[in-house]
Point group: C2
Chain length 255, copies 2
């Protein structure tokens, strides 16, 4: 069933009002009619099964039938600080990272990032990435849209990380040295509701200095297996492993 | 360091001969010269550090300096039977799946596959996908290039699966029903050297009939977490989780 995020102030107890692009999508693209069903989520953890009452180009009214059960959000909140990659790879990372459960993305202006997001580019990119994360959140049946923050350099990232108890860096050199225990050790220490800040380098990887600076500030250097992953694959590996650890293995143990 | 797969009959005890496109790449693109170093892998599990002796457009000769240690191959051999997706998504799946350690890919002509690979398209596709898997294997430092098989329909896939002890289907409906224990339970039963055949549906998912037929022939229906993954994300989730289970968690337990 088609899903839409609707700002929470457009919900009342019985009804929801959908406006703008989503209303047009329902009317023009999906060609829906009164009494068709949709799911509306409020980006605050709730999703409702709704029945369309009125369907116009710029406005759709729907009655709330029931609140949907089930929580598809990752049990831990993961912030991905992604070294800014080339071309449109950030789009892919936000799309697939959202599907895999990321809570938040930070474009990290790393030493070896070839692209630099200047002010005008930054604002455009952010609008685009927020659209991608909303659509991916709808498609994957999430209850929350991951946030895309302003870009940070390494010092800003370290300052931002001050409030995090759990922080890590996916570091290729650690993987090359055969040390793979860091990541599962970290996950084994975490529990439901905890936050994790995970840093991933751009195409050329992090510099030794960046890795050192982050390590000095409490970030744990972790390998992600013995193969060299492209920058856009690392976030997906990390989020899939976290999902497997907390959402699947956990189930297995429970039975 | 630049890596190349070279057919094993082009190795002798002391030297390796590189021809064709790779020789041109070394000469023209990388502009390498005698005494520059490269890594040559024989696609049979060995990689060697080599020093270039002669560098021409169509031919490169290099001396073997040492065999490289370390095994970046997944401890279990995973065959991904991927429901043929739209457009060039199979390219992405082969590229990223190779990085994540897949041993083999089967294009699965599923009921809901929109694209149909006819004979001429099939051959072209295969050449293209084999090139992608070779390059991704070089980039990710693998020792073996995953094979790309001829497309199979569901009956052919079931017949192919006869020889597999471990086989599964990533099935959305199982995930929706909240049953997540199947996949880790299966992995917990497997040990190093075992083979796994994993089936993933195309964009529209598998039909109930396909899922039933596979289940009747010993395929276990498994959820991959509570979020709905796109078809091209499912293989990466699956391979990342397998890597985490066998290559990372295993390390942690060992310490």
């Amino acid at each position: 069933m088609q899903r839409y995020f609707v700002p929470s102030d457009q919900f009342d107890e019985k009804r929801v009002v959908i406006t703008g692009e989503d209303a047009r999508h329902i009317h023009k693209v999906m060609r829906m009619k009164p009494s068709d069903m949709i799911v509306c989520a409020n980006n605050k953890g709730d999703a409702y099964l709704c029945k369309i009452d009125l369907c116009e180009d710029g406005k759709v009214l729907a009655s709330i039938c029931e609140r949907l059960e089930g929580d598809p959000e990752l049990p831990i909140r993961v912030t991905i600080a992604q070294g800014i990659p080339k071309a449109d790879k950030f789009d892919t990372i936000v799309q697939k990272g959202t599907e895999c459960g990321a809570a938040e993305f930070i474009p990290f202006q790393a030493e070896r990032s070839v692209a630099i997001w200047k002010q005008d580019k930054k604002d455009k990119k952010r609008v685009r990435l927020e659209k991608i994360s909303k659509e991916a959140a709808e498609q994957s049946h999430r209850l929350c849209i991951p946030e895309v923050r302003d870009p940070m350099n390494v010092s800003q990232l370290i300052a931002f990380g001050e409030s995090f108890k759990n922080k890590m860096v996916a570091f290729e050199e650690t993987a090359k040295a055969g040390a793979q225990a860091g990541f599962p050790t970290l996950l084994n220490k975490m529990k439901e509701g905890d936050h994790l800040l995970a840093v991933i380098g751009p195409e050329g990887g992090l510099t030794s200095l960046e890795a050192e600076q982050l390590q000095e500030h409490g970030f744990i250097l972790c390998g992600l297996g013995p193969r060299i992953l492209r920058t856009e694959t690392a976030a997906l590996y990390l989020l899939s492993a976290i999902s497997y650890h907390f959402e699947l293995l956990h189930c297995e143990v429970d039975e």
